[in-house]
């Protein structure tokens, strides 16, 4: 009985692996069939094969690489600046009450405004320049990382800080070693959330007007009614965001190296 139960459990486990492997191909197959059956308009709802052709053409023309680099550069630079600023200010507001009294109320008012809402004013300030796009991504990343760091710093084990004080740890080392590393588990969570946020804001930034980039390409394709290209662009964006999140998760696990 128990052996039978176990073997049926393994059978279920095996079956679910097979089903998982078939999930995406089956979905694509159904999509292909529906699109070709004539039930839907293939101009608006092209089959995956059309999307694949569009993507291959995108890659072959060399535009894909240029678009990818343009988008990645915006996300990477915005993320780096926003994260660095968030960590530095988070440590200061988390550790020093006076700095917190000065900045936290302001940050708490600004933080809930969706970065996308800043597009109009960013266009007024920076036009269609790269600075404006960078600004949007930095804005989105900064508050998330700041809040995570601020909370993380306040959760640092008081005992660790006292132990470090008793050993004569000077203030800079206290901040950049004991407090930073003590808060690191929280900071990495904030950074990971900020990775997805940086992609959201990228979309807003490129839709507002750009000359290259994956979202820019999606918009151009839409204007030309190249639905296959639009879907290919969406898939590329999804894949990129997924890869960024996964690699960050792996990185974050290594960052807290002592666990």
């Amino acid at each position: 009985m128990s052996i039978g139960g176990r073997s049926s459990a393994t059978a279920t486990a095996r079956l679910s692996v097979v089903v998982a492997a078939l999930s995406v191909p089956a979905f694509t197959g159904v999509w292909e069939l529906v699109a070709r059956s004539g039930i839907v308009n293939t101009v608006l709802f092209p089959p995956p094969s059309t999307v694949a052709v569009a993507v291959l053409e995108w890659i072959r023309s060399g535009q894909f690489f240029a678009d990818l680099m343009a988008s990645l550069a915006r996300v990477a630079a915005g993320f780096a600046i926003g994260a660095a600023g968030g960590i530095v200010l988070g440590i200061l507001t988390g550790r020093f009450r006076l700095v917190s009294s000065l900045l936290s109320p302001l940050f708490h008012i600004l933080r809930p405004i969706p970065p996308i809402a800043f597009v109009p004013i960013v266009i007024l300030w920076f036009g269609l320049s790269e600075t404006g796009k960078l600004f949007l991504v930095v804005w989105g990343v900064f508050f998330t990382v700041w809040l995570a760091t601020h909370i993380g710093v306040q959760k640092v084990d008081r005992g660790l800080i006292r132990a470090a004080q008793m050993l004569g740890t000077p203030q800079p080392q206290m901040l950049w070693e004991i407090v930073l590393l003590g808060a690191l588990p929280y900071i990495t969570v904030g950074l990971r959330t900020a990775v997805s946020i940086s992609f959201y804001t990228l979309v807003a930034a490129e839709l507002a007007g750009a000359f290259a980039g994956i979202v820019y390409r999606i918009e151009i394709a839409q204007q030309n009614m190249q639905t296959g290209q639009v879907m290919g662009g969406l898939a590329a964006l999804g894949l990129l965001s997924f890869v960024a999140d996964r690699s960050f998760a792996i990185l974050a696990e290594r960052a807290v190296w002592w666990r």
Binding site: A163, M166, L167, G168, L181
Partner: protein, 288 residues
């Protein structure tokens, strides 16, 4: 009995009018009329109430009392981690306002830096004080050998047992060669067997270093076994009730707990604590 330095009911400035004993002249720690008050939701709570005491150079003094009697607060004030409400703490003649590296501290929890290996944890103090890396690591290696953890020098704290972690914490506190070592129930979180081993280790260690040690505990056996003097504190507000000289010969080991002199001391302590406990308990009942 030798005249006690401690007069719980009188401020210590009267020490100077005592026949100046050797101990009084060399007092490295002086707590003068110290009161510490905490803000609580129900109003201000007096944690330490006009405590005065002196500890001589090289002495091992334990502070014993029930939980919540303010003994840890008193110790934190000696460490410079707690500000006096009134009075002051003088370490080697200088008032304590902030922690100083020549005053080492071991807490109830090891509080090791989880991101540092055993070796780097111990080297932290010397590094913080600006010693070159090589020298700091050399100091650490010497202490690791002394605590018998050479095999674990590059291990991270979470891989060690509670007793081993606490040994590392003691070594880390010693790395700055403190003149005073403050210990706040350092073995309180350990199981009985490990605690006994750690007590013997500390007795051995004490023969090798010449730091003055103030040791807070609620365990009377531990206090008598380790100390030259035991101060018994009362609860709410924290005051020192009695100053007991422990004139048992050294070197000691945990075997002395069966000796008559030891038992007599312990009986004295217990009587005092029991009557004090009863008084505190009755007071609580009247209040409520």
């Amino acid at each position: 009995m030798t005249p006690s330095l401690l007069r719980p009911d009188q401020p210590l400035r009267l020490v100077d009018t005592y026949p100046p004993s050797a101990a009084a002249r060399q007092a490295i720690i002086r707590v003068e009329d110290l009161s510490i008050v905490f803000d609580a939701p129900s109003g201000q709570v007096i944690a330490v109430d006009r405590v005065s005491l002196a500890v001589a150079q090289g002495e091992f003094v334990s502070i014993v009392g029930p939980s919540g009697c303010g003994k840890s607060t008193l110790l934190n004030a000696m460490a410079g981690l707690e500000r006096p409400f009134e009075g002051q703490v003088l370490m080697a003649g200088e008032a304590m306002r902030a922690p100083r590296p020549e005053i080492g501290m071991v807490f109830q929890q090891p509080h090791l830096f989880p991101w540092k290996s055993v070796r780097r944890n111990i080297a932290h103090g010397p590094r913080a004080l600006g010693k070159p890396k090589a020298e700091a690591l050399r100091i650490a290696d010497g202490l690791i050998e002394m605590i018998g953890l050479t095999r674990f020098a590059s291990a991270y704290p979470h891989t060690l047992s509670g007793g081993m972690q606490q040994r590392v914490a003691i070594a880390r506190a010693l790395a700055n060669q403190p003149s005073v070592l403050l210990m706040d129930e350092p073995f309180g979180a350990l199981d009985a067997q490990t605690r006994a081993v750690m007590q013997d280790n500390l007795l051995e260690l004490r023969e090798r270093i010449n730091a003055t040690i103030v040791f807070v505990t609620h365990d009377i056996d531990e206090a008598i076994l380790l100390s030259d003097r035991v101060l018994i504190m009362s609860a709410g507000p924290g005051r020192i009730l009695k100053d007991l000289q422990v004139s048992l010969p050294r070197p000691r080991s945990s075997a002395i707990v069966a000796e008559a002199a030891y038992l007599a001391l312990k009986r004295d302590c217990l009587d005092l604590i029991r009557s004090e406990g009863r008084r505190a308990f009755e007071q609580m009942e009247i209040k409520t």
